[in-house]
Amino acid sequence: MNIQNNIKLWSSLGMRATFGLIAMELVKKHPNLIITTSDVSTSAGLDRYKNKYPDKYIDVGIAEQNLIGVSAGLSSEGFKVISTTFAPFQTLRCCEQIKVNLGYMKHKICMVGLASGLVLGNLGFTHCSIEDIGILRSIPNISIVVPSDPFELFKTLDQAIEHKNSVYIRLTAGSNSKIINDKDYEFEIGKAVEIKSGEDVSIIGCGNILWNCLEAATVLKEKNIKCSVVNMHTVKPIDKEKVIELAKKHKLIVTVEEHNIIGGLGSAVAEVLAEDKNNCKLVRIGAKDFYSPGGSYDYLKDIYGLSVEKIIQTVFLNL
């Protein structure tokens, strides 16, 4: 498989459609794979998979609590299970089932949350997700990974399906998503990736919003503020060593996420910094614990300080 050609194609397709393509590859490697959904197939790029492997696809209808229970039952009987639906329904509607089946009983399922963050802002906040990371972080035995681009989604799923515990994979952005990783690289669940170096400020992000972090870092460099940009794709377990290393090297850390600043990446980083001796200031960029009016993806990013300009401003104000 030619990686370069695929990176471009996958980015134009976006994470959801790419997930469908990845499923076609995963099932060849894992013949006991079953994908379970709650009335989403096209939205998850799964039409081809559904048509080619109907016996490895179970749609339980718009019933997310049952989705998790059925998935856990299948997993307990030896199947590798990936469940998927839109992020709020994948995580909140069936939250207790996730706690009991995945956390408490440790049944292994990969949950893929579609269109998380702010990308469906024009549908209103019932279809956006700024709480999912925070809520799932409190449940033991579940790892949380936020791929930065469709290529990283491929690597995430490849590892997640063999990972020791359940993994929640949070998809962000839509079609024509940005390319963060334009060539092959080392990926490991739990290990952050420093994609740009710089000694003044560290911008730690997760998800496709990392593009805005990179753009902001480029502009800041012209103003002689050197930023490192770190892809902290795994929010749980957080790469403590990397956070502590960054705190030693920089005077300011800024976290960037399409999530409430309470409970998500920013909080996870804050927890590490609070228990470590350092002189580094932390500023969290994200949804400041309110639901904004709906609108386009760009409109919402701007309201929550996630646009390139607002990230630059935040860095300036806190230096």
Binding site: G61, Q65, G69, V70, G73, L74, E77, E96, Q97, N101
Partner: protein, 268 residues
């Protein structure tokens, strides 16, 4: 089916329930709901389910899920009678670090398939297990016991829709219909009205029986179904077997003192 053996098994389950609840002392126990399920569980474990200690993890075993997890004393008692767990393990009930808590904890080696207790979840798991059987082309059956109060939970109906949609004739759902839930009668808290019709309308092959007539329980469990999940609505009495407890919701979760124990043990 050996009627005497069945009745004995049920009697022993009741003895174990009362003894264990008594030993739990001030920690108290869910008693009424365990006693109402005792005959159903007795028939399943003594005469219906393919399950034994030597092949406890065998992929061909029948699976049992106590979705109304608070009736766990009946399950533990049956496992003792089946010699899958030891009698002295019952004495660790609700103790620090014990595997036998006030709700079942998953322990396949001890014959406990899943952790239940949060009502409304066990049937979903059962549907997943039954689907797995179809995919693996295995003949094992999955038996799920629900409480009637538990049927307030929407998730139960999600699972029933699903079982019916996928034509799961390898799952058997038994509703322990003792007409009570924690705070009082179902009819005053959240009236289920005609529960049997509801299951029928959801596409299940449904019968209604006396949940304490072991012969009827056995016959309804043995009857064949095709392409539909089987539901048995078992009319039961909360606290059945101990006159002091019968239909008295104070015994949903309570303490059996020494004097009470002395009085009631004669009844079994």
């Amino acid at each position: 089916m050996n009627l005497k053996k069945l009745e004995n098994f049920a009697r022993n389950i009741r003895k174990n329930i009362i003894f264990t609840a008594f030993k739990a002392g001030a920690k108290s126990a869910h008693i009424g709901g365990a006693l109402s399920a005792a005959d159903i569980i007795a028939v399943l474990y003594s005469s219906i389910m393919k399950i034994k200690k030597q092949k406890i993890l065998d992929d061909n075993r029948d699976r049992f899920i106590l979705s109304k997890g608070h009736a766990c004393l009946a399950l533990y008692s049956a496992l003792v009678e089946k010699k899958i767990i030891k009698r002295k393990d019952l004495e660790t009930f609700e103790s620090d670090g014990s595997n036998l808590l006030g709700h079942p904890i998953i322990n396949k080696l001890s014959g406990i398939e899943f952790s239940t207790g949060s009502l409304g979840m066990g049937l979903s798991l059962g549907v997943g297990v039954a689907l797995a059987a179809k995919k693996k082309q295995k003949k094992y059956k999955t038996y799920v016991i629900l409480g009637d109060g538990e049927c307030n939970e929407g998730s139960i109906w999600e699972s029933i829709l699903c079982a019916s949609h996928f034509k799961l004739d390898n799952i058997v759902i038994i509703v322990d219909k003792n007409n009570f839930q924690q705070t009082g009668k179902n009819s005053s808290i959240m009236d289920l009205k005609d529960l049997t019709s509801k299951f029928k309308s959801f596409g299940c092959s449904t019968t209604e029986i006396n949940g304490h007539n072991v012969k009827k329980i056995y016959q309804s469990l043995m009857s064949k179904t095709t392409n539909k999940p089987k539901v048995i609505v078992a009319n039961t009495i909360k606290g059945k077997g101990i006159k002091l407890f019968e239909n008295d919701n104070n015994w949903h979760h309570s303490i059996i003192t020494k004097s009470i124990y002395k009085n009631i043990i004669k009844e079994i």
